[in-house]
Protein backbone atom coordinates (compact mmCIF):
# COMPACT_ATOMS: atom_id res chain seq x y z
CA UNK A 1 0.00 0.00 0.00
CA UNK A 2 1.30 3.42 -0.78
CA UNK A 3 0.60 6.35 1.48
CA UNK A 4 0.72 9.85 0.14
CA UNK A 5 2.89 11.91 2.45
CA UNK A 6 3.13 15.18 0.59
CA UNK A 7 0.36 16.73 -1.43
CA UNK A 8 1.09 20.02 -3.09
CA UNK A 9 -1.50 21.65 -5.28
CA UNK A 10 -1.34 24.82 -7.31
CA UNK A 11 1.29 26.32 -5.08
CA UNK A 12 2.00 29.92 -6.06
CA UNK A 13 4.16 32.55 -4.46
CA UNK A 14 4.35 36.10 -5.71
CA UNK A 15 6.48 38.97 -4.51
CA UNK A 16 4.48 41.89 -5.82
CA UNK A 17 3.85 41.12 -9.48
CA UNK A 18 6.81 38.81 -9.69
CA UNK A 19 5.61 35.22 -9.48
CA UNK A 20 8.53 33.25 -8.15
CA UNK A 21 6.68 29.95 -8.02
CA UNK A 22 3.79 29.36 -10.37
CA UNK A 23 1.14 26.71 -9.75
CA UNK A 24 3.42 23.89 -8.75
CA UNK A 25 1.58 20.67 -7.98
CA UNK A 26 2.91 17.24 -7.08
CA UNK A 27 2.39 14.28 -4.79
CA UNK A 28 4.93 12.18 -3.01
CA UNK A 29 4.47 8.69 -1.59
CA UNK A 30 6.00 7.18 1.48
CA UNK A 31 9.49 5.84 0.89
CA UNK A 32 10.20 7.87 -2.22
CA UNK A 33 13.03 10.26 -2.87
CA UNK A 34 12.10 13.29 -4.93
CA UNK A 35 14.78 15.37 -6.55
CA UNK A 36 14.12 19.01 -7.18
CA UNK A 37 16.27 20.33 -9.95
CA UNK A 38 16.63 23.78 -11.33
CA UNK A 39 19.08 26.52 -12.14
CA UNK A 40 19.80 29.22 -9.58
CA UNK A 41 16.80 31.37 -8.81
CA UNK A 42 14.34 28.91 -10.30
CA UNK A 43 12.22 28.80 -7.16
CA UNK A 44 13.54 25.62 -5.53
CA UNK A 45 14.22 27.15 -2.16
CA UNK A 46 11.03 29.19 -2.20
CA UNK A 47 9.02 26.03 -2.82
CA UNK A 48 10.81 24.28 0.02
CA UNK A 49 10.18 27.18 2.37
CA UNK A 50 6.50 26.92 1.58
CA UNK A 51 6.51 23.15 2.05
CA UNK A 52 7.96 23.53 5.52
CA UNK A 53 5.75 26.39 6.63
CA UNK A 54 8.49 29.01 6.66
CA UNK A 55 6.77 31.05 4.01
CA UNK A 56 3.07 31.52 3.41
CA UNK A 57 2.01 30.71 -0.16
CA UNK A 58 0.12 33.37 -2.10
CA UNK A 59 -2.28 30.65 -3.15
CA UNK A 60 -2.45 26.88 -3.21
CA UNK A 61 -2.20 24.27 -0.50
CA UNK A 62 0.40 22.02 1.07
CA UNK A 63 -0.72 18.90 2.89
CA UNK A 64 1.61 16.69 4.89
CA UNK A 65 0.06 13.27 5.48
CA UNK A 66 -3.31 14.88 4.93
CA UNK A 67 -2.71 17.73 7.40
CA UNK A 68 -2.96 21.20 5.94
CA UNK A 69 0.17 23.27 6.57
CA UNK A 70 -1.71 26.55 6.70
CA UNK A 71 -4.60 25.46 8.90
CA UNK A 72 -2.72 23.20 11.32
CA UNK A 73 0.89 24.31 11.11
CA UNK A 74 1.94 22.74 14.40
CA UNK A 75 0.71 19.25 13.57
CA UNK A 76 2.05 19.45 10.03
CA UNK A 77 5.45 20.76 11.08
CA UNK A 78 5.82 17.92 13.57
CA UNK A 79 5.93 15.54 10.59
CA UNK A 80 8.67 17.41 8.75
CA UNK A 81 12.40 17.69 9.14
CA UNK A 82 13.96 20.56 7.25
CA UNK A 83 17.50 21.48 6.34
CA UNK A 84 17.47 24.99 4.88
CA UNK A 85 20.11 26.45 2.58
CA UNK A 86 22.25 27.51 5.52
CA UNK A 87 22.31 24.91 8.30
CA UNK A 88 20.49 26.56 11.22
CA UNK A 89 23.00 26.01 14.01
CA UNK A 90 23.39 27.94 17.21
CA UNK A 91 27.09 28.61 17.11
CA UNK A 92 27.47 28.84 20.88
CA UNK A 93 26.11 25.34 21.50
CA UNK A 94 27.99 22.08 21.21
CA UNK A 95 26.85 19.46 18.71
CA UNK A 96 25.30 17.40 21.51
CA UNK A 97 23.44 20.40 22.92
CA UNK A 98 22.28 21.48 19.49
CA UNK A 99 20.90 18.05 18.63
CA UNK A 100 19.29 17.61 22.04
CA UNK A 101 17.61 20.99 21.55
CA UNK A 102 16.38 19.93 18.11
CA UNK A 103 15.00 16.70 19.57
CA UNK A 104 13.15 18.47 22.37
CA UNK A 105 11.81 21.16 20.06
CA UNK A 106 10.35 18.46 17.86
CA UNK A 107 8.65 16.77 20.77
CA UNK A 108 10.94 13.80 21.39
CA UNK A 109 10.07 12.66 24.95
CA UNK A 110 12.62 13.71 27.58
CA UNK A 111 13.77 10.18 28.35
CA UNK A 112 14.48 9.37 24.71
CA UNK A 113 16.41 12.49 23.78
CA UNK A 114 19.83 11.07 24.54
CA UNK A 115 19.21 7.91 22.59
CA UNK A 116 17.89 9.90 19.64
CA UNK A 117 20.99 12.13 19.69
CA UNK A 118 23.37 9.16 19.82
CA UNK A 119 21.53 7.37 17.06
CA UNK A 120 21.47 10.34 14.71
CA UNK A 121 25.13 11.12 15.37
CA UNK A 122 26.01 7.60 14.37
CA UNK A 123 23.99 7.87 11.19
CA UNK A 124 25.60 11.13 10.13
CA UNK A 125 29.12 10.27 11.31
CA UNK A 126 29.24 12.85 14.08
CA UNK A 127 29.99 10.51 16.98
CA UNK A 128 33.44 12.01 17.54
CA UNK A 129 32.19 15.58 17.33
CA UNK A 130 29.66 15.64 20.18
CA UNK A 131 31.65 17.93 22.46
CA UNK A 132 32.73 20.41 19.79
CA UNK A 133 31.09 23.80 19.42
CA UNK A 134 29.09 24.19 16.23
CA UNK A 135 31.04 27.38 15.59
CA UNK A 136 34.32 25.49 15.30
CA UNK A 137 33.13 22.82 12.91
CA UNK A 138 34.12 22.84 9.26
CA UNK A 139 31.44 23.58 6.68
CA UNK A 140 31.05 19.89 5.90
CA UNK A 141 30.49 18.94 9.51
CA UNK A 142 28.11 21.85 10.01
CA UNK A 143 26.15 20.54 7.05
CA UNK A 144 26.04 17.11 8.69
CA UNK A 145 24.75 18.58 11.95
CA UNK A 146 22.15 20.36 9.82
CA UNK A 147 21.06 17.04 8.34
CA UNK A 148 21.15 15.41 11.77
CA UNK A 149 18.83 18.02 13.28
CA UNK A 150 16.42 17.50 10.39
CA UNK A 151 16.08 13.74 10.89
CA UNK A 152 16.42 13.47 14.66
CA UNK A 153 12.71 13.00 15.32
CA UNK A 154 12.36 10.52 12.41
CA UNK A 155 9.87 12.68 10.56
CA UNK A 156 7.61 11.36 7.82
CA UNK A 157 8.98 13.86 5.35
CA UNK A 158 12.56 15.08 5.19
CA UNK A 159 13.16 18.24 3.18
CA UNK A 160 16.79 18.91 2.33
CA UNK A 161 17.86 22.05 0.52
CA UNK A 162 21.14 21.26 -1.24
CA UNK A 163 22.30 18.68 1.28
CA UNK A 164 25.69 17.97 -0.27
CA UNK A 165 26.81 21.55 -0.51
CA UNK A 166 30.23 22.17 0.97
CA UNK A 167 31.05 18.50 1.46
CA UNK A 168 34.12 16.71 0.21
CA UNK A 169 33.71 13.77 -2.21
CA UNK A 170 33.88 11.12 0.51
CA UNK A 171 31.33 12.93 2.63
CA UNK A 172 29.12 13.39 -0.41
CA UNK A 173 29.19 9.65 -0.95
CA UNK A 174 28.24 9.02 2.69
CA UNK A 175 25.45 11.56 2.65
CA UNK A 176 24.04 10.18 -0.58
CA UNK A 177 24.00 6.73 0.96
CA UNK A 178 22.25 8.20 3.99
CA UNK A 179 19.64 9.88 1.82
CA UNK A 180 18.97 6.62 0.00
CA UNK A 181 18.63 4.91 3.35
CA UNK A 182 16.23 7.60 4.57
CA UNK A 183 14.16 7.04 1.49
CA UNK A 184 13.37 3.56 2.83
CA UNK A 185 11.24 4.73 5.72
CA UNK A 186 10.66 8.41 5.15
CA UNK A 187 9.85 10.50 2.14
CA UNK A 188 12.69 12.71 1.09
CA UNK A 189 12.58 15.86 -0.97
CA UNK A 190 15.93 17.27 -1.91
CA UNK A 191 16.93 20.14 -4.07
CA UNK A 192 20.17 20.36 -5.91
CA UNK A 193 21.73 21.63 -9.04
CA UNK A 194 24.16 18.77 -9.25
CA UNK A 195 22.62 16.60 -11.93
CA UNK A 196 24.37 13.27 -11.40
CA UNK A 197 23.35 13.42 -7.76
CA UNK A 198 19.71 13.32 -8.74
CA UNK A 199 20.36 10.31 -10.88
CA UNK A 200 22.12 8.52 -8.05
CA UNK A 201 19.70 9.00 -5.19
CA UNK A 202 16.29 9.98 -6.50
CA UNK A 203 13.31 7.92 -7.62
CA UNK A 204 11.45 10.91 -8.97
CA UNK A 205 12.67 14.07 -10.53
CA UNK A 206 11.13 17.44 -10.97
CA UNK A 207 12.76 20.16 -12.93
CA UNK A 208 11.68 23.64 -12.08
CA UNK A 209 12.46 26.61 -14.21
CA UNK A 210 11.34 30.18 -13.70
CA UNK A 211 8.91 29.02 -11.08
CA UNK A 212 7.23 26.38 -13.18
CA UNK A 213 7.57 22.63 -13.33
CA UNK A 214 8.93 21.77 -16.75
CA UNK A 215 9.51 18.10 -16.10
CA UNK A 216 8.05 15.74 -13.58
CA UNK A 217 8.45 12.02 -13.66
CA UNK A 218 10.45 8.98 -12.73
CA UNK A 219 14.18 9.03 -12.98
CA UNK A 220 14.08 6.30 -15.67
CA UNK A 221 12.16 8.61 -17.92
CA UNK A 222 14.86 11.19 -17.65
CA UNK A 223 17.50 8.57 -18.21
CA UNK A 224 15.71 7.31 -21.30
CA UNK A 225 15.58 10.75 -22.79
CA UNK A 226 19.35 10.80 -22.57
CA UNK A 227 19.84 7.68 -24.61
CA UNK A 228 20.21 8.24 -28.29
CA UNK A 229 20.43 5.99 -31.28
CA UNK A 230 24.04 6.78 -32.08
CA UNK A 231 27.42 5.25 -31.51
CA UNK A 232 30.56 7.33 -31.51
CA UNK A 233 33.34 5.46 -33.22
CA UNK A 234 37.03 6.24 -33.43
CA UNK A 235 39.03 4.64 -36.26
CA UNK A 236 42.60 5.29 -37.42
CA UNK A 237 41.95 4.22 -40.99
CA UNK A 238 38.33 5.01 -41.48
CA UNK A 239 36.79 3.57 -44.66
CA UNK A 240 34.65 5.55 -47.04
CA UNK A 241 31.24 6.56 -45.74
CA UNK A 242 29.60 4.17 -48.17
CA UNK A 243 31.33 1.21 -46.54
CA UNK A 244 29.94 2.23 -43.17
CA UNK A 245 26.45 2.75 -44.50
CA UNK A 246 26.61 -0.76 -45.88
CA UNK A 247 26.80 -2.13 -42.36
CA UNK A 248 23.52 -3.58 -41.06
CA UNK A 249 21.32 -0.97 -39.41
CA UNK A 250 23.45 2.10 -40.13
CA UNK A 251 21.42 4.94 -41.59
CA UNK A 252 23.78 7.84 -41.25
CA UNK A 253 27.48 8.50 -40.72
CA UNK A 254 28.69 11.95 -39.88
CA UNK A 255 32.03 13.22 -38.61
CA UNK A 256 32.16 14.40 -35.02
CA UNK A 257 35.54 15.98 -34.42
CA UNK A 258 38.15 13.27 -34.91
CA UNK A 259 35.51 10.64 -34.45
CA UNK A 260 32.58 9.41 -36.46
CA UNK A 261 28.99 9.36 -35.32
CA UNK A 262 26.96 6.49 -36.66
CA UNK A 263 23.20 6.68 -36.45
CA UNK A 264 21.33 3.41 -36.37
CA UNK A 265 17.78 2.69 -37.34
CA UNK A 266 17.32 0.54 -34.28
CA UNK A 267 19.60 0.49 -31.27
CA UNK A 268 17.92 -2.50 -29.71
CA UNK A 269 20.41 -5.13 -28.59
CA UNK A 270 24.17 -5.05 -28.75
CA UNK A 271 24.18 -6.67 -32.17
CA UNK A 272 24.90 -3.38 -33.91
CA UNK A 273 28.08 -2.71 -32.00
CA UNK A 274 29.15 -6.29 -32.42
CA UNK A 275 28.72 -6.26 -36.17
CA UNK A 276 30.55 -2.96 -36.39
CA UNK A 277 33.54 -4.33 -34.48
CA UNK A 278 33.59 -7.48 -36.61
CA UNK A 279 33.58 -5.43 -39.81
CA UNK A 280 36.30 -3.16 -38.44
CA UNK A 281 38.58 -6.06 -37.62
CA UNK A 282 37.99 -7.69 -40.97
CA UNK A 283 38.62 -4.45 -42.84
CA UNK A 284 41.59 -3.40 -40.64
CA UNK A 285 40.05 0.02 -39.96
CA UNK A 286 42.15 0.56 -36.81
CA UNK A 287 39.16 0.76 -34.49
CA UNK A 288 40.17 2.15 -31.09
CA UNK A 289 36.95 3.46 -29.59
CA UNK A 290 33.29 2.58 -29.59
CA UNK A 291 30.99 4.37 -27.18
CA UNK A 292 27.29 5.02 -26.97
CA UNK A 293 26.58 8.66 -27.74
CA UNK A 294 24.92 9.63 -24.51
CA UNK A 295 23.57 13.12 -24.26
CA UNK A 296 24.75 14.46 -20.96
CA UNK A 297 22.20 15.15 -18.29
CA UNK A 298 23.21 18.76 -18.66
CA UNK A 299 22.08 18.68 -22.29
CA UNK A 300 18.73 17.24 -21.33
CA UNK A 301 18.41 19.81 -18.64
CA UNK A 302 19.31 22.65 -20.97
CA UNK A 303 16.90 21.30 -23.52
CA UNK A 304 14.07 21.23 -21.02
CA UNK A 305 14.73 24.66 -19.61
CA UNK A 306 15.26 26.24 -22.99
CA UNK A 307 12.18 24.69 -24.49
CA UNK A 308 10.32 26.58 -21.84
CA UNK A 309 11.88 29.84 -22.92
CA UNK A 310 10.81 29.34 -26.51
CA UNK A 311 7.26 28.57 -25.44
CA UNK A 312 7.07 31.56 -23.11
Amino acid sequence: MTTVTVEVSELTRAYGDNKVVREVSFNLNKGEVLGFLGPNGAGKSTTMKMLTGNLAPTSGTVKICGIDMIENPKEAKALIGYLPETPPLYKELTVDEMLALAARMHGVPRGKVKRAVDHVKERTGLTEMGKRLCENLSTGYQQRVGIAQAIIHSPMVVVLDEPTRGLDPIQIKDIRALIKELGGEHSVILSTHILPEVEMVCDHVQIIHQGQLVFSGEIDQLRKSRESDCLVVGMRRAPATDALLALPGVVEASPAGNLLRLRFADMAGDAVAESLVRAAVAGDWGLYQVAPDVASLEDVFLQLTQMEEVAA
Binding site: A56, K74, P84, P88, E92, M105, H106
Partner: protein
Protein backbone atom coordinates in the same frame (compact mmCIF):
# COMPACT_ATOMS: atom_id res chain seq x y z
CA UNK B 1 4.19 25.27 27.90
CA UNK B 2 6.87 22.60 27.57
CA UNK B 3 8.10 24.28 24.41
CA UNK B 4 8.22 27.68 26.12
CA UNK B 5 10.48 26.21 28.79
CA UNK B 6 12.64 24.45 26.19
CA UNK B 7 13.17 27.73 24.36
CA UNK B 8 13.72 29.61 27.62
CA UNK B 9 16.31 27.03 28.63
CA UNK B 10 18.11 27.43 25.33
CA UNK B 11 18.18 31.21 25.71
CA UNK B 12 19.62 30.96 29.21
CA UNK B 13 22.28 28.57 27.99
CA UNK B 14 23.23 30.90 25.15
CA UNK B 15 23.26 33.83 27.55
CA UNK B 16 25.69 32.15 29.90
CA UNK B 17 27.77 30.79 27.03
CA UNK B 18 28.88 34.34 26.31
CA UNK B 19 30.81 36.49 28.78
CA UNK B 20 28.14 39.18 28.48
CA UNK B 21 25.81 37.68 31.09
CA UNK B 22 28.62 37.14 33.60
CA UNK B 23 30.02 40.61 33.06
CA UNK B 24 26.63 42.22 33.51
CA UNK B 25 25.97 40.20 36.67
CA UNK B 26 29.36 41.08 38.13
CA UNK B 27 29.27 44.78 37.25
CA UNK B 28 25.75 45.12 38.56
CA UNK B 29 26.68 43.46 41.81
CA UNK B 30 29.76 45.67 42.25
CA UNK B 31 27.99 48.88 41.38
CA UNK B 32 24.93 48.22 43.49
CA UNK B 33 27.07 47.00 46.38
CA UNK B 34 28.98 50.28 46.31
CA UNK B 35 25.77 52.26 46.20
CA UNK B 36 24.33 50.28 49.05
CA UNK B 37 27.41 50.79 51.24
CA UNK B 38 27.42 54.47 50.36
CA UNK B 39 23.71 54.69 51.24
CA UNK B 40 24.40 53.24 54.70
CA UNK B 41 27.15 55.80 55.29
CA UNK B 42 24.94 58.66 54.28
CA UNK B 43 22.13 57.38 56.46
CA UNK B 44 24.36 57.59 59.51
CA UNK B 45 25.61 61.04 58.53
CA UNK B 46 22.08 62.36 58.07
CA UNK B 47 20.66 60.80 61.20
CA UNK B 48 23.58 61.73 63.45
CA UNK B 49 23.02 65.43 62.81
CA UNK B 50 20.67 67.47 64.85
CA UNK B 51 17.55 66.33 63.10
CA UNK B 52 14.15 66.93 64.63
CA UNK B 53 12.63 63.57 65.58
CA UNK B 54 9.60 64.05 63.26
CA UNK B 55 11.89 64.37 60.23
CA UNK B 56 13.78 61.19 60.94
CA UNK B 57 13.02 58.28 58.67
CA UNK B 58 13.62 54.54 58.74
CA UNK B 59 16.66 52.91 57.26
CA UNK B 60 14.63 51.07 54.64
CA UNK B 61 12.84 54.17 53.38
CA UNK B 62 16.12 56.06 53.17
CA UNK B 63 18.42 53.54 51.50
CA UNK B 64 16.39 50.93 49.64
CA UNK B 65 14.51 53.13 47.10
CA UNK B 66 17.85 54.76 46.20
CA UNK B 67 19.56 51.47 45.52
CA UNK B 68 16.67 50.07 43.51
CA UNK B 69 16.35 53.37 41.64
CA UNK B 70 19.97 53.09 40.55
CA UNK B 71 19.45 49.41 39.71
CA UNK B 72 16.63 50.34 37.33
CA UNK B 73 18.84 52.90 35.59
CA UNK B 74 21.57 50.29 35.20
CA UNK B 75 19.03 47.87 33.74
CA UNK B 76 18.05 50.60 31.30
CA UNK B 77 21.45 50.10 29.65
CA UNK B 78 21.89 46.41 30.42
CA UNK B 79 18.56 45.09 29.12
CA UNK B 80 18.92 46.47 25.57
CA UNK B 81 22.32 44.77 25.42
CA UNK B 82 20.73 41.49 26.45
CA UNK B 83 17.66 41.70 24.22
CA UNK B 84 19.46 42.93 21.10
CA UNK B 85 20.62 39.53 19.99
CA UNK B 86 17.46 37.59 20.83
CA UNK B 87 15.87 37.86 17.39
CA UNK B 88 18.12 40.11 15.32
CA UNK B 89 21.07 37.74 15.62
CA UNK B 90 18.96 34.70 14.86
CA UNK B 91 17.76 36.44 11.76
CA UNK B 92 21.30 37.37 10.77
CA UNK B 93 22.73 33.90 11.24
CA UNK B 94 19.59 32.34 9.74
CA UNK B 95 18.74 30.21 12.73
CA UNK B 96 15.23 31.61 12.94
CA UNK B 97 14.30 28.93 10.40
CA UNK B 98 15.10 26.33 13.03
CA UNK B 99 12.40 27.74 15.30
CA UNK B 100 9.93 28.37 12.48
CA UNK B 101 10.23 24.80 11.19
CA UNK B 102 9.71 23.23 14.59
CA UNK B 103 6.17 22.46 15.71
CA UNK B 104 5.91 25.52 17.94
CA UNK B 105 3.78 28.61 17.56
CA UNK B 106 5.25 32.08 17.17
CA UNK B 107 3.71 32.96 20.50
CA UNK B 108 5.64 30.16 22.18
CA UNK B 109 8.87 31.30 20.52
CA UNK B 110 8.49 34.90 21.67
CA UNK B 111 7.28 34.06 25.17
CA UNK B 112 10.01 31.44 25.50
CA UNK B 113 12.67 34.02 24.75
CA UNK B 114 11.04 36.47 27.15
CA UNK B 115 10.86 33.90 29.94
CA UNK B 116 14.49 32.96 29.42
CA UNK B 117 15.63 36.56 29.72
CA UNK B 118 13.37 37.24 32.71
CA UNK B 119 14.84 34.24 34.50
CA UNK B 120 18.24 35.89 34.19
CA UNK B 121 16.86 39.23 35.37
CA UNK B 122 15.14 37.55 38.29
CA UNK B 123 18.56 36.39 39.41
CA UNK B 124 19.72 40.02 39.39
CA UNK B 125 16.65 41.12 41.36
CA UNK B 126 17.02 38.30 43.88
CA UNK B 127 20.70 39.08 44.45
CA UNK B 128 19.89 42.73 45.09
CA UNK B 129 17.05 41.76 47.41
CA UNK B 130 19.36 39.45 49.34
CA UNK B 131 21.86 42.29 49.64
CA UNK B 132 19.37 44.74 51.14
CA UNK B 133 17.77 42.13 53.37
CA UNK B 134 21.19 41.28 54.75
CA UNK B 135 20.92 44.47 56.84
CA UNK B 136 18.59 42.45 59.04
CA UNK B 137 21.65 41.58 61.11
CA UNK B 138 22.13 45.24 62.08
CA UNK B 139 18.68 46.76 62.10
CA UNK B 140 15.01 46.19 61.53
CA UNK B 141 14.34 46.13 57.82
CA UNK B 142 10.88 46.78 56.43
CA UNK B 143 10.74 43.58 54.39
CA UNK B 144 7.49 44.50 52.64
CA UNK B 145 9.02 47.75 51.43
CA UNK B 146 11.98 45.87 50.00
CA UNK B 147 9.55 43.51 48.28
CA UNK B 148 7.57 46.30 46.58
CA UNK B 149 10.86 47.77 45.36
CA UNK B 150 11.96 44.39 44.04
CA UNK B 151 8.59 43.93 42.36
CA UNK B 152 8.85 47.38 40.82
CA UNK B 153 12.32 46.64 39.50
CA UNK B 154 11.19 43.29 38.13
CA UNK B 155 8.18 44.84 36.37
CA UNK B 156 10.36 47.61 34.94
CA UNK B 157 12.78 44.98 33.66
CA UNK B 158 9.90 43.03 32.11
CA UNK B 159 8.74 46.15 30.29
CA UNK B 160 12.32 46.89 29.12
CA UNK B 161 12.73 43.31 27.91
CA UNK B 162 9.46 43.22 25.99
CA UNK B 163 10.29 46.46 24.21
CA UNK B 164 13.84 45.28 23.57
CA UNK B 165 12.66 42.00 22.06
CA UNK B 166 10.30 43.88 19.78
CA UNK B 167 13.07 46.20 18.59
CA UNK B 168 15.25 43.15 18.05
CA UNK B 169 12.59 41.64 15.80
CA UNK B 170 12.62 44.70 13.56
CA UNK B 171 16.18 44.47 12.35
CA UNK B 172 19.02 42.15 11.41
CA UNK B 173 21.64 44.17 13.25
CA UNK B 174 21.80 43.56 17.01
CA UNK B 175 23.58 46.87 17.62
CA UNK B 176 20.83 48.84 15.92
CA UNK B 177 18.25 47.01 18.01
CA UNK B 178 20.16 47.91 21.19
CA UNK B 179 20.46 51.59 20.30
CA UNK B 180 16.81 51.95 19.31
CA UNK B 181 15.66 50.12 22.44
CA UNK B 182 17.81 52.31 24.64
CA UNK B 183 16.54 55.53 23.08
CA UNK B 184 12.92 54.39 23.21
CA UNK B 185 13.21 53.35 26.85
CA UNK B 186 15.00 56.51 27.85
CA UNK B 187 12.28 58.50 26.12
CA UNK B 188 9.57 56.58 27.96
CA UNK B 189 11.29 57.16 31.28
CA UNK B 190 11.80 60.91 30.98
CA UNK B 191 8.69 61.67 28.94
CA UNK B 192 6.91 63.12 31.97
CA UNK B 193 9.44 65.91 32.29
CA UNK B 194 8.24 67.28 28.95
CA UNK B 195 4.73 67.73 30.27
CA UNK B 196 4.10 71.29 31.46
CA UNK B 197 0.65 70.44 32.73
CA UNK B 198 0.78 68.04 35.72
CA UNK B 199 -2.42 66.38 34.46
CA UNK B 200 -0.97 65.77 31.00
CA UNK B 201 -1.51 62.24 29.59
CA UNK B 202 2.21 62.13 28.92
CA UNK B 203 2.65 61.56 32.63
CA UNK B 204 0.62 58.44 32.41
CA UNK B 205 2.85 57.05 29.69
CA UNK B 206 6.01 57.53 31.68
CA UNK B 207 7.49 54.31 33.02
CA UNK B 208 9.06 56.19 35.93
CA UNK B 209 5.70 57.54 37.12
CA UNK B 210 4.52 53.97 37.60
CA UNK B 211 7.70 52.83 39.25
CA UNK B 212 7.83 55.59 41.87
CA UNK B 213 4.76 54.51 43.88
CA UNK B 214 6.13 50.97 44.09
CA UNK B 215 9.48 52.32 45.10
CA UNK B 216 7.93 54.32 47.93
CA UNK B 217 6.15 51.20 49.09
CA UNK B 218 2.73 51.69 47.57
CA UNK B 219 1.23 48.72 45.75
CA UNK B 220 -1.19 50.13 43.20
CA UNK B 221 -3.21 47.94 40.83
CA UNK B 222 -3.18 50.64 38.15
CA UNK B 223 0.63 50.66 38.07
CA UNK B 224 0.91 46.90 37.94
CA UNK B 225 -1.74 46.75 35.21
CA UNK B 226 0.25 49.34 33.27
CA UNK B 227 3.40 47.23 33.34
CA UNK B 228 1.55 44.06 32.42
CA UNK B 229 -0.21 45.75 29.51
CA UNK B 230 3.01 47.40 28.34
CA UNK B 231 4.84 44.06 28.36
CA UNK B 232 2.00 42.15 26.72
CA UNK B 233 1.60 44.78 24.00
CA UNK B 234 5.22 44.56 22.91
CA UNK B 235 5.26 40.77 23.03
CA UNK B 236 2.17 40.65 20.82
CA UNK B 237 3.72 43.17 18.45
CA UNK B 238 6.78 40.91 18.22
CA UNK B 239 4.60 37.93 17.32
CA UNK B 240 2.93 40.06 14.65
CA UNK B 241 6.29 41.12 13.28
CA UNK B 242 7.53 37.53 13.04
CA UNK B 243 4.30 36.50 11.38
CA UNK B 244 4.92 39.18 8.78
CA UNK B 245 8.23 37.43 8.02
CA UNK B 246 6.32 34.31 7.11
CA UNK B 247 3.72 36.17 5.08
CA UNK B 248 5.98 38.55 3.20
CA UNK B 249 9.08 36.42 3.03
Amino acid sequence: MKMILTIAGKELRSLFASPMAWVILAMLQLLLGLFFANGIDRYFEAMQGAMPPEQRMGFTAFVVPQVFGVAVLVLLTAVPLLTMRLIAEERKSQTLVFLFSAPVSLFEIVVGKFVGLMTFISVVVLLLMAMTLSMHVATDIDTAHVLTNALGMWLMAAAFSALGIFMSSLTQQPIIAAIISFIALLGLIIIDSFAADPESPLNYLSLMRHFEPLSSGMLNTADIAYFILFTATFLVLTVRRLDADRLRG
